[in-house]
Symmetry: D3
Subunit: 163 residues, 6 copies
């Protein structure tokens, strides 16, 4: 039977958080006692926003969700999950290309920590093709991004590129 | 925040239940307070096993799982989920072809009942390519099926074909 | 250079037409001088609606589109296209599984009639996972289908199943 | 190290054999000492051509290939492979949808007979989207099929439909 | 109804143009009154050929097509399309991996400019697996590329690598 | 008919070799008279292990396989294959994303050297989602990698990261 309190981790780069990320965060928050959104520090990737900017943006998005916390993690995801006493990893599935790499990571994580379950939510149809990369690309070219991110994130993105 | 008790429905045809189904059932049972395995009655499909045979086989597989019940449902899945006060539908994702139709059904179900969330577990690597259909095909040709289903299901399958 | 008048054919079963079909029909009508929606008669498939019902439903959907005609065709699509002096076949692409069979048919058609071009429009995100089959399935189970088809089609579908 | 003589089986329905099948047959014949093309008898499928017609068509295609034999098999493929002292199953891979079901069958066969290896050849680009089904569909509608099958197969297909 | 003159934009990197690109360009030129091939300037990508080299190569390929112009664009594609009074974006679809990113871009573009339609042509079977990247890779290793690009492009590629 | 002796080349980066690579190597070694594992030198990719380290690791894995040799190659694969009098290229197919790029490379190679056949083996289910990249990523984060690579490779990976 299920343990008394279900804690889930929703990990990602969130560079920046899109409406798709926020949709998954909300839906996951409604299903678990506590949801920890984990902003991964990945030295290999060149990120547009600093880790603390990404945490700020996520906190703004989560401010009405009382059981959601935003945290930073470095190193192996499963270690972070264990340290937080979480038992579930939540991921949003968008489309085909996601599927492949998500499978790979989920199965590797099960090998590393069989007691942690990865649960997938399907991205809503309207966010199916929205990604942080495409949003950054449109913003870099001066295009409108209001349909893809929150007003606050949009403002920060535009600030990056007006400089 | 999450409601006091999380009830999930794991729907399927289970004609017959494979080791892959049982793996998902066990993993889902560990994540929810109650898991209802729903055997769908689909008059359009020709099934090998009667609904009551399928329920029996699933009960045998679930006998050590105290929070799992096996039930039959007819009609719309989301109606069945609501009647049982469940809020989650659990589905196993195997591979590419699954993905498409699972997306279609999950999004249709959200349209019908936005308060019900579909959560996907990835099928374990060793069951990734096992399906009820291929097991039935092998059994019909007299092939060994011990690696794909439980001994009890294997026996029933062989009985079907020795007649 | 392009010929004086561009006529396109949008073929399908339309059993029944969904909001996704109507979206493609409208967008295609805006791009060609004339659009002929071709309802294919396929004796091998069991259809829910008669050909004349399907034509009626499509005519209702197309009544504000002055350059759209609904016609029935039997036999090879490319023959129908040639007889109508059309040079383009329009198809909507939804998702992965579509892609495969659409490629197969488009390449076969090019082998049969290289002068006819197949042009694909991407289904809008919100219709990406809507199909005639899933709509019929939901209707058969008594579920609500208002989000997937027009009110008129919904009424006809419900009439089919209330009998 | 490899055994003295490598025998491979190329199984299929071949209803009818297409240019794609013939291409795989030729390429496989060039790689193995003996190639047995196995025409599967599948009582569940409705075939257009009788088993003996399919054998005749394949024999005509293989007549210049001295190390190829055409045989009929019933029951489990791996049993047929063992009876012929073959160690390899050859399959042509066309595209995405093939991939899934081929994986499923190959992995099931390995479970049944680990000593038999399935080797895949990629279908040539020009045959990538040709299948027996689409050829039959075009022929049934009276369309030209010369680009997809040999003249002999084309003649037989047309004979079927002129009656 | 369709506007008096249909102008389409076929955007890409064309680094270098392959036979697949040229095939799409020709087929699109036959369907629209005017076709503008837009060479995108993307500062983030490292290109082998300068923008002006790419324009030269495309002009050579298009010299017999009287309604095709080659232009350079910077910034957002939809802005370029609007400035040229075009209403259609043409893209060639090759295979699965294309499909994903093409969908993503097409849907983002519709969000940005709903009045612009993206129309997809299927790449011919023989060019299905040809890409600028693989051509560059083969050329860099000294391999023959005559089957993939025009003689002029081949010469320029070899010149790059003989230095 | 098959030539007297079948030599196959199994090319790759092997940075480092995983259990999946070793599985394919063993199965291929059982099917051909000689198997040459070709470690490709690719100046464009940043590799973790030097070419000679990769050769050493593969030699350790192959030490009980008498008909396997490990070699380094630079330049075009098909040239290397011809120089070694091999007629077959062996590749392991893992999953969807592999499929696309493998098709592309196999078809390009056939254009370059039609006499060389690429044969694909399906990766075993348990290695389906293991790749050199994910193993390196886990090792870099200090995670356990014993399930994915041999003890010797694991030791070398850990040595890389403890420095």
């Amino acid at each position: 039977m299920m343990s008394a309190m279900q804690i889930a981790v929703y990990p990602g780069s969130f560079d920046p958080p899109t409406n798709g990320h926020v949709d998954i965060m909300r839906r996951a928050a409604a299903r678990f006692d506590r949801l920890i959104v984990g902003v991964g520090v990945n030295s290999a990737k060149t990120e547009l926003f600093s880790v603390s900017d990404r945490v700020d943006m996520l906190r703004a998005e989560a401010k009405t969700l009382s059981n959601v916390e935003i945290e930073v993690f470095e190193g192996l995801l499963v270690e972070f999950v264990k340290q937080r006493n979480a038992t579930v990893v939540v991921r949003g599935l968008r489309a085909m290309s996601d599927f492949e790499s998500e499978f790979q990571v989920a199965l590797a994580n099960r090998e590393l920590a069989p007691e942690i379950e990865t649960m997938f939510l399907m991205t809503s149809a309207e966010h199916m093709f929205v990604s942080s990369s495409i949003v950054k690309e449109i913003a870099a070219l001066g295009g409108p991004i209001a349909g893809f991110v929150s007003p606050e994130v949009a403002q920060r993105l535009q600030a990056k590129h007006s400089r």
